[in-house]
Symmetry: D2
Subunit: 342 residues, 4 copies
């Protein structure tokens, strides 16, 4: 059976990545693509790398007949997403890639996003989309909220350790290095090639980054008590990739063991042998996560390093993995593409 | 039916690219991987991006039992390839990715490669692997010689124009821009990141590049008379991609028409609307070729610009396309991956 | 004696490059910096790499007292420049970095820039700023028009050959590879890191690029007859550098000799030994030009390859060199910085 | 007065960087350049970006007459350096850029470098070259040991805080991001453009990096008690730059104040306003250090972030600054070059 798929916000990088992945999916057909400001254009005009595909012309959202659609990927900007999703048919399956439905508590949402939520009932309904940790809820969900790409990376490194009780919950430092496509196709001076290449720097350090809201929510939930990590993202001159170097208190062998056991049946999450360092280069263009564990010279201190591709496992690949679950397909369908190296 | 595949020289970039592509091929199984100096290692150690795949351990060539092998990809260095292939079982299908069997004339081989050919009878047997122009010969061949990646790019732009008789055969200039992976995983100073990034330059200009041997052979054959192009390759700070800007004498409309007609039934070769410029970025990681045609302000002069990924359509993708033909599979099997952008 | 310098349009890359160069100039002091939309900000806020310098706060142009200013660098956008310069005191020395005063013929200006010139009398007065070819006129000029960066590169390769009569004037092809800073600090999608890095393509091919107006004017003037070159620029994933590969008809030895003799007394222009290829990497951040000559395998055909840094020798370095002449300083003052490698 | 300078090991990046800086130095003249394997070549052949300079031909060390030499920069590989320096005239001033004389304790040297020191008496004599902290000792020294580039970056961020007593000495985490030129011009697979660009990863994590020896020595000395930091370096796809993100326990205002006061008279070290993030891009090609301080959302936790250019302030610029002191020249001579941006 082939599922009819619509993608809202198809002119951004996560939209294009969804199209790339679905292109080889055995049971999905894209029947609608929206891009308000580019309505009437073809995808080949907006993304010439997709010109070999037979795709619908870009349309406005209100021109789409959702009657025949089985699932919608919503790759719209934050805030726009909630306004649009609440107008969609109430029984339509939705995977949202924005930040709008990641936080469960309305107060948390308002704190991190600076305004009250427009669709609080949907906020309650949404399931958090970190597949390996919410698989059953996602399979049964109507609305799934894709995670932040940084938030996903940190959680893959840390979450099993909280669950296993092998680290000090008050001493978690996440030093994260993110490539530029996570910032989207937006026209900002700091995203220009001339500004970014050959340089790197921290940003939103000290507690300003919105993905902290996700860390707080999810780690506290996993721990059964408040957990507040320290988190510093850096912008790196590369297009795809997130590397999270996490500084923890715990025993390296127990930490490695907890991760290895937690992920031993997971197809997309690979724990490397002790002492090996993952690289973003080795997961680029794929849905895989590589995790390394390194003991510090000072006993009781350990680093966990996680690498993934922000556009694939960090957003569009995760979204497709969740959609597969929601539609009863094989969870890995369309997602077994090997990383592109070099 | 699943075909058993061996890859000789699996520790180089074209070997890794073959594994990446075959990973999602519906009818191929890799049963042997060789890498003489790295024999005994796993592919995950040599190429950590392939660690999710269940692959044979790297071995020496003489350890491989070719009895159960249906087809061999030979990704060995030039000169080594001919020495190895002549020792393989005489009925084994072989796709060679080296330069060893591209030139039909022993004198040409010696001229461009500086030594007599070691397997002249195989040199006669081999079929030139430019799929779209030798499809029937390839389907019937036992030994197919993969083309040079630069040679392929130039031929996609020019060959149909020679056949259609719409250009001046004595006025062909190919200014080519190549990314660095075409030089392989070799330890040379000029391939270091610090040396290459942020700079670019010509190399082997004026008639020194060996791919001229292929241009001479193939263009002369297509024209039925000697054709000697002018060819200048440049090294560009990028990992994948070849862009050939070809300066020609002819009418732009007739040139565009000849290309569009020649490739209208080709799945992998796309001719853009007149005046559009292809980019290597739009074919990266894929088997597609994008071709643009631009008229010069001076009547009678025209540029044809072709872009492809050197590791995919320029070598390993081409090799797989040819193997599909040789094995009776769908020519596109394993090759419909969309380009990875950004 | 120290000259008082004003820079109009200091918030762009050429403005910042002027400040970088003047920072170590022994006889210049920056007394005013303008940036209309960023007036009131410090240069350290706009360009943190200049924070160690003691510089005037950015102001609006009409706030500047030009009474004590000896020379103005005008790094404003095209069209804005002519509107501003015609309001400046008539005896103020001006080096303009825009395209506004490069073309002498009002009809040519209108043809290439799409509108009549606003200051035609200044257009007549301006001297074309290619230092090595207009040194005496520049030393005596009040208003000097900086050349296009691509136009400069092509002229360094070709102009002496026209003067020496050693090439066919009807067969000149310039295939040019430009880094991204030449496009300025403007917010355009194709200048984003995610769009540009790892890809490259031609643009404005076939006769659309405005620098053709300069080539036509200058080459025709040098030849004493109309000369119309073929010119294809390409955008390369690097920040600084232009490489022009010029295809010519002529004898390589005579071509090399003509260039070597023409530049033997020029400090900034270096002709490499026959057969050597220049690289943009070897001139980056400097005012030097490297020129190589390679004979083609077909007698009578030759390539001349020129490399320079678009922001230095291609614009701000050239501007400073011209200002030195206009102010009676040593032509090389502030300009002998070695390239930054790697 | 002009000082005669020799550079041993001139064919590496730090050697080339020394030449670049000395090129505009008002009181130094390079009289000898050594490069054993490239003896007989010109610098223009080894580093074409230096072809405009009039430099001695590369020679073997034993061909150099040190009689007329005032100061030697020794940019030889580790271990080679100690063997060479002990053969030089005992009164010759030497600035060593290798690791050989950084550690004062022979046991420490053996621990980190795996063999006993060959010149222990010189090891005792050498002064540690972190200029801002050993200025007087350096001015009086005969032999100065250049610091590790990573070690310098971390010390600029942390050392004044130890001296001021405003941080917890047992809770220091240095997450460092280094560009590739720090690894030198060596032919290693992981330094190839194809391997490095578009990817990043940690290396030598957990206590394996030799610069820890310097941190231990210097921080313990400054504190008057043992201090053992946690240190994780990462390799970033860029050519120049080190960014150290240091996680500390202390009050952000006090930390910022301690840094601002310590560096207020230092020309090369700039402390940014609270909350601002430095970037390697803003110091590239220069001798400047930018330091930022950001308070974490959790009181008592603070990040200090330091950026410098590993080839300039991290090695060759530092070496020149020290040589200026040793020769009685202005400490900033040849070093006031502004960063190159973009």
């Amino acid at each position: 059976m082939t599922h009819n798929i619509a993608i809202l916000g198809a002119s951004g990088y996560t939209g294009a990545e969804l199209v790339r992945l679905i292109a080889t999916h055995p049971a999905m057909r894209i029947v609608a693509l929206s891009a308000d400001r580019k309505a009437g254009m073809t995808m080949a005009e907006v993304f010439p790398h997709l010109r070999h595909l037979d795709l619908p012309v870009l349309s406005k959202i209100d021109e789409i007949d959702f009657g025949g659609v089985d699932l919608v990927f919503c790759a719209l900007p934050h805030a726009t997403s909630q306004a649009v999703i609440k107008t969609l048919p109430g029984d339509l399956k939705v995977v949202d890639l924005s930040a709008d439905f990641r936080l469960r508590d309305p107060a948390d949402y308002e704190k991190w996003y600076g305004k009250p939520h427009d669709a609080p009932e949907l906020q309650q309904e949404a399931v958090y989309g970190l597949t390996e940790f919410y698989r059953h809820e996602i399979a049964a969900a109507r609305l799934v909220a894709g995670t932040g790409c940084n938030a996903a990376t940190g959680q893959y490194a840390i979450r099993p350790l909280i669950e296993a009780g092998v680290i000090d919950l008050d001493e978690i430092v996440i030093d994260l290095k993110a490539a530029v496509s996570g910032a989207g196709r937006s026209l900002k001076e700091n995203l220009l090639h001339a500004e970014l290449s050959e340089g790197y720097h921290a940003y939103a350090a000290g507690g300003a980054h919105r993905h902290l809201g996700e860390f707080d929510q999810e780690f506290s939930k996993a721990a059964g008590r408040p957990v507040h990590v320290q988190f510093t993202p850096h912008l790196i001159p590369a297009n795809r990739g997130i590397l999270a170097t996490v500084y923890l208190r715990g025993d390296a062998a127990r930490v490695h063991d907890a991760l290895a056991r937690r992920y031993e049946d997971e197809i997309f999450v690979h724990v490397l042998p002790v002492g090996r360092h993952p690289s973003t280069k080795h997961v680029r263009g794929s849905n895989f996560v590589h995790i390394g564990v390194v003991a510090d010279r000072r006993p009781g201190r350990v680093m966990v390093i996680a690498a993934l591709d922000n556009l694939t496992k960090g957003s569009s690949g995760q979204a497709l993995q969740n959609a597969n679950l929601m539609l009863g397909e094989d969870e890995t369908a369309g997602l077994m593409l090997a990383p592109v190296f070099p």
